[in-house]
Amino acid sequence: MEEKKLAIIATKGSLDWAYPPFILASTAAALGYETQIFFTFYGLQLCKKQLDLKVTPLGNPGMPMPMGMEKWFPVILTALPGMEAMMTAMMKKKMADKGVASVDELRSLCVEAEVKLIACQMTVDLFDMNPADFIEGLEFAGAAAFFEFAGESDICLYI
């Protein structure tokens, strides 16, 4: 059986959106897929050594909130100082209670399973990011390098 390939582009840098790329990549690796994640724009936040990911209900009417707040809590109040930190803390607690892995843990499992992590060099330059802030083993490349792998992949996802 020839090894299947999965190519993912991760573009989002919030706590909730950190999950799909790492869940799918780690699972694919466990199923025997050769897997690459290309991190671009805000997705680069998922490659920082010190993860500081947050989640906010602001601009996200689909996000369930405690006590059904998404149904009655005025949207403008979700912009209040401290709301993002509170919602992030609550989400992390809920995930831990339900046995959902932390982003850190899933990322480590990806690294362990030899999922190749590639940072978009252009984004690093654009936002003056410091390569030393990123995890070990991260490679830096551009769009052409992504296509070299993605062009041969069986599944290609933009997240």
Binding site: M1, I23, T27, A30, L31, G32, K98, G99, V100, A101
Partner: protein
């Protein structure tokens, strides 16, 4: 339940951890050995079927007992 060689308790863990832990446990076992996995994630029933189909490791048994899911997987 048939005999098994190693046991993995993935109770309380949610997708995709039971699969990832099982993969890791199987990696440390010899071919033909059987892993018994215990899980509480209802999604794991379909997931272990899919895992078995895609990796070739044989899913010998899958059952629910006492609110937990039990799987026997033979390493290929």
């Amino acid at each position: 339940m048939a005999d098994f060689d190693e046991e993995l308790d993935a109770s309380g863990l949610n997708c995709p951890l039971p699969i990832l832990r099982a993969k890791k446990a199987l990696a440390g076992m010899d071919a033909g050995k059987v892993l018994h996995i215990i899980a509480t994630d209802p999604g794991s029933v379909k997931d272990f079927e899919a895992f078995s189909k895609q990796t070739g490791n044989e899913l010998m048994e899958s059952k629910e007992e006492g609110g937990k899911f039990h799987f026997l997987i033979k390493k290929v």
